[in-house]
Symmetry: C2
Subunit: 383 residues, 2 copies
């Protein structure tokens, strides 16, 4: 799918594809979805015996556009372009990389703003509550559609890490290796709380209209995003980058107003307004709920090691020292459970001041861990 | 003012008083306020030479009702009743304790919902932006009104600690000792950010009406409070108290809905709805802005030690190990500045899992520190 470009290291110009399911997709909530579409992109070439396919999972606000450019005029590459391409950690000279937009999303795959084939109208809040396992169930169909029986590796950061972990529990026979970065096996009470407050901000926007808006509830969605953004940074990185600096610099004094006075306020407002241009409010509600419901140990009455028992594959687990959204202790809990099960585990808590965002910023440290893991990962053919 | 009651340790039945300023109160923003009223309560007796007066400062959502009961039917005592009374750390057998509602507040003192004497209408958003120093300036008038030239001690936690610290910088000659608990000398970028998001939640409530509401913007204010409440707890205490427990217990499964499913969601919603019954949305806006603007070092071009130079009095500084709203490193910054200046400083970082809320919960550890500090604090009479 990717065309070769002269610029070294880039997968070049890429195009997304859509895969329409013929059969209904059953969901954890008991309902099912008809006419599901999955949008995806691929980079590199699938080997004749399909032993080099890697699925990369995106985070809450991500999409299928992992690497490369959609057109020669495109100024911004895919969201993990640093990591995916010829000679890069996810090396497209060797690997066939797949990235698909999750169901519930708003970037091509079926989500709450899609048309319900039964009614001919948008689902909006009639969309069923979906789970991380549902998202993985949809991806499993895509895997078969692509002629793949087993992923060489499934990888992801943040919510993407939850999907990567869920793959092992849902389809252990289809996973040869797992990379889970800045993530958790179960979302904490604090994580659930931030999501709750974010949804309140959206649902209390008068333009939300019980989800039946034509135009986005911009301010509510921006508020939700600004709150989330705080949890992606660290206290230390905020002090370092913004501190108490005022927007007007050199500043003589405070504005004595409620408008954006501090530089951090202006930064957050900018993040909020950029977000509403590219992301849908109802999708935000559904995806955060899926995150709340994520507990890998649910299938084993809360025992994480038992839940992971069927997964024989080696893991790479990475946390970041200043990540307080999915703190290192949560990765360590996962590592302990895997060690209890006798799995091969590579674990690193990368020292970084960037907070949760480190998983997108610490490309050098993370890249060498991923490179090394993927280079040394043995291939166990499917049964 | 307090009547004796048989129940040991209580200041008994107390009544608030109002003090109306005759003269305008000048403010940092350049404007001034006419007809300011300060609501306050006192406990114990002022000694003949006025050497036993202690000012206790309340936090963001506090009020003048520090201890005791307003009537025999009153079920709930003042907000720090554990700490204030005969034989308690703030010992009313020995000390004369004063607590006043801050200006900008909504519990008796002049605030945005007060009537502007110039227009005969509520200020609402025409209320001037006030600062922590303005709140202290108003309290200095109350001090003189009460016949006090110098506080034996000024004490407070959280925002109350900011006022206690500000007293030393604004009126060093009027402060004999300072107790600053779970607070900071300057609010961090992260603190400013949470306040920003909270105000967005309020101002985006369609019932806020640019501040001219007759009925509270309940949902926006509740959202702001829920967010703040998360920052008052610790990840650890939330995991311990709520974890991922569902509201229906024993729970068989998720609700697959956006309603309150987890116990923590129900708890937060309860905190939010209780709050809107007792606190005003516009006050919340003004007080959080005052907190944003708090930087004790502003008067000394950012040099905290220089700002504190005029304060000769001994300090008690207390932080809590799991407080991430005003983390221990912020108290330590303050301690270092005071040590550089040669001040007597008692500092303790109390080990606690309660997060910022520890300042209201760790009464035993905190009480013995305060007791010991107040018992040993020498009195330096005013010039």
């Amino acid at each position: 799918m990717a065309q070769e470009q002269p610029c070294s290291g880039s997968v070049g110009i890429v195009q997304p594809s859509d895969y329409l399911f013929e059969e209904e997709l059953p969901l954890d909530c008991g309902r099912s979805l008809k006419g599901v579409v999955i949008r995806y992109e691929t980079y590199g070439k699938l080997s004749p015996n399909a032993d080099n396919a890697v699925l990369v999972e995106h985070a809450l606000s991500g999409d299928a556009h992992l690497a490369g450019y959609h057109s020669p005029e495109d100024k911004k590459p895919g969201w993990w372009d640093d990591m995916v391409g010829p000679g890069k950690p996810f090396d497209t000279n060797r690997l066939f990389i797949v990235c698909s937009n999750i169901i519930g999303g708003c970037s091509g795959s079926t989500g709450p703003r899609s048309i319900d084939p039964d009614t001919g109208r948008r689902y909006d809040m009639d969309f069923p509550i979906i789970t991380i396992a549902d998202m993985v169930r949809a991806q499993e169909r895509l895997m078969r559609h692509l002629g793949i029986k087993k992923w060489f590796c499934v990888a992801g950061g943040s919510m993407g890490g939850m999907l990567a972990l869920q793959w092992g529990v849902s389809y252990p026979e289809a996973v040869n290796g797992t990379i889970a970065i800045a993530t958790t096996a179960r979302v904490s009470s604090q994580g659930i709380s931030f999501n709750w407050v974010s949804r309140e901000a959206i649902m209390n926007d008068q333009h939300w209209l019980d989800g039946n808006y034509e135009e986005q509830p911009q301010r509510g969605l921006a508020t939700a995003r600004m709150l989330a953004h705080i949890t992606y940074l660290s206290d230390e990185s905020m002090n370092h980058k913004f501190g108490r600096a005022l927007q007007e610099s050199p500043a003589s004094d405070y504005d004595f107003a409620f408008s954006k006075d501090f530089r951090i306020e202006s930064y957050l407002a900018h993040q909020g307004s950029k977000f509403v241009e590219r992301f849908d409010a109802n999708s935000y509600l559904y995806i955060t709920r899926a995150i709340d419901y994520f507990d890998l140990s649910d299938c084993a009455e809360g025992n994480l090691a038992n839940a992971l028992k069927p997964v024989a594959a080696p893991f790479l687990i990475v946390s970041f020292s200043s990540d307080w959204l999915f703190p290192a202790y949560q990765s360590k809990e996962l590592v302990r459970a895997l060690l209890d099960n006798g799995n091969d585990v590579t674990y690193c808590n990368i020292q970084s001041s960037y907070g949760h965002d480190a998983f997108l910023l610490e490309t050098e440290a993370l890249g060498s861990l991923i490179s090394s893991y993927l280079t040394n990962l043995p291939w166990e053919p499917p049964e």
